[in-house]
């Protein structure tokens, strides 16, 4: 592993947040923070500056991942946003600017491989590994990495 990615987790199911955090850290990356709702993302400091955010669609206090995705793009325009959700069908065609989705139920291997692939995309794009089946890229990310 070359560098450690700075990752934000937005997930209201604490078990899953803990699990994803452990998988990220086992993969040699750094979890900057966790949020369970849109409000909690709003309260995070600007200085956080994540390189990758895993975002659930269904969040606490009636908030949703689509709005969180827009907020993240406003605050930290360089961050990759990847939805982690069981409701893949609810994601709009343009992914509201997000870069991909990992469908629940995810496997440990699926998340590990996706993180590995995304890290290559963050530090040395485009990724040289084969894209794992667990990660479905948004059309614009696929295009961005295809033309490089």
């Amino acid at each position: 592993m070359t560098d450690a990615m700075k990752v934000l987790i937005v997930e209201d199911e604490m078990l899953l947040a803990m699990d994803i955090e452990a998988i990220i850290e086992d993969s040699g990356h750094q979890v900057l923070g966790e949020a369970a709702s849109l409000e909690e993302v709003e309260r995070l400091p600007d200085s956080l500056d994540p390189q990758l955010a895993f975002v659930d669609l269904h969040l606490a206090n009636g908030s949703n991942g689509l709005d969180v995705c827009k907020l993240i793009q406003q605050r930290w325009p360089d961050a990759l946003v990847v939805f982690v959700t069981a409701n893949v069908a609810q994601i709009p065609e343009d992914f509201v600017g997000a870069h991909g989705v990992i469908a629940k139920p995810f496997s440990h291997a699926g998340v590990v491989n996706a993180i590995h692939y995304l890290a290559q995309g963050v530090f040395d794009p485009p990724p040289h590994s084969l894209r794992p089946a667990s990660l479905i890229p948004s059309p614009h990310l696929e295009l961005r990495w295809a033309v490089m």
Binding site: L15, A22, A86, K104, F106, A109, G110, N113, A133, S134
Partner: protein
């Protein structure tokens, strides 16, 4: 002489108008009610009516002659239909219309009126000739059919709405159940993983890891099933490929290469979980034994079919069967029992070098 020239026959029959005229006699005697009106007189009165017309309307000849036809109309006669008759008379063309008329006794009947102008040789309208036909039965039958049709349509509409509501409720329920299955599978995996981290004994940890891999394989099966557009078949080819990449990737073994030759191959989804677990056991086994002690190499996956059975071959290029300890693990017993459940067969063979496992199973076909 052609049929359409038949009416010229009257020209050669030289009869004086009056009682002896066979055509006048025919009009008088026919069962078809008929009248003739004279537009030259004030208000276009009836100047002739036959017996059938008197019988139809219940009026005597002296009550009919000299009156305009409108005396047959009543409160429920359609004014639009009447207006059409008036317009036809004004414009001098014929008209065919159903009118609701009233008899002398006040009873109603549907009158299929056909009225046409009779012109002289200069083209001037001399008379209007009108025939009537009592079509009450036809019109009423038609009305009854229309009413019943409307009732049936209302009933169908009501039942369709019921069915639609029931379907919607079922769809919501199905969605909810599906969502819970997905969430619970995700949580089971997460719970197991969190537990694994707290275990120090490597033997127990290895067993729990195997358990986790099995739960993950089930999760991948379920995910592929719900994301598929056709729930009646499961693409074991795509599954085998993605599971192979998952398992190799998760092993963290960058020194294990993969060679994959897999196209779509569909199986009954009822066997998806069993076949998925079998593949998982064989793949994780290959990583553990075929590439043990940090030995690098290539893992091969081949998905194909002969005429009757789907075939998946998983081969490592490791030390081969002789060097593998065939312990009484749950993995072997899982493969044997699940194979029986899915009507599948798993055969181990020495690939020299390496070990090959060939799994054959019933399949539903490949896309042509």
């Amino acid at each position: 002489m052609k049929q359409r020239d038949d009416w010229h026959l009257t020209d050669v029959l030289d009869y004086e108008h009056g009682r002896g005229d066979p055509f006048a006699a025919a009009v008088r005697a026919t069962r078809m009610p008929m009248v003739i009106t004279d537009p030259a007189q004030d208000d276009n009165p009836i100047v002739f009516c036959n017996v059938a017309f008197q019988e139809l309307t219940g009026y005597a000849r002296e009550e009919i002659i000299g009156r305009n036809c409108r005396f047959l109309q009543g409160p429920d006669t359609d004014p639009d239909a009447v207006a059409r008759v008036r317009r036809a008379i004004d414009q001098g063309h014929d008209i065919d219309v159903d009118l609701l008329n009233y008899r002398k006794d006040g009873s109603r009947f549907w009158n299929a009126l056909y009225m046409s102008p009779v012109r002289d040789k200069d083209g001037i309208i001399r008379f209007f000739f009108a025939s009537q036909l009592d079509v009450t039965e036809r019109v009423e039958a038609h009305n009854i059919i229309n009413q019943q049709k409307e009732l049936v349509e209302q009933e169908v509409e009501r039942r369709t709405a019921d069915l639609r509501a029931a379907l919607e409720a079922k769809t919501i329920l199905l969605h909810e159940v599906d969502h819970r299955v997905k969430n619970n599978l995700t949580m089971i995996g997460s719970l197991l993983r969190l537990q694994v981290r707290t275990i120090e004994d490597p033997a127990i940890m290895a067993k729990l890891d195997s358990m986790l891999e099995r739960v993950d394989a089930l999760a991948v099966v379920h995910r592929q099933l719900y994301q598929s557009s056709d729930i009646t078949k499961f693409d074991i080819g795509a599954f085998a490929e993605s599971l192979t990449l998952d398992v190799v990737g998760a092993s963290g073994r960058a020194d294990i290469q993969t060679e994959i030759d897999a196209g779509p191959l569909f199986v009954n989804p009822a066997h998806a979980s069993a076949l998925g677990l079998i593949l998982n056991e064989i793949l994780t086994n290959a990583i553990k034994h075929g590439f043990a002690n940090g030995r690098s190499g290539t893992l091969r996956l081949l998905v194909s079919d002969d005429d009757e059975r789907g075939v998946i071959r998983i081969c490592d290029d490791g030390p081969g069967l002789i060097c593998q300890k065939r312990t009484k693990s749950i993995g072997m017993s899982l493969v044997t029992r699940l194979a029986r459940q899915a009507s599948a067969e798993a055969v181990w063979s020495d690939g020299a070098p390496g070990t090959c496992v060939t799994i054959t199973f019933p399949y539903n076909g490949t896309p042509k």
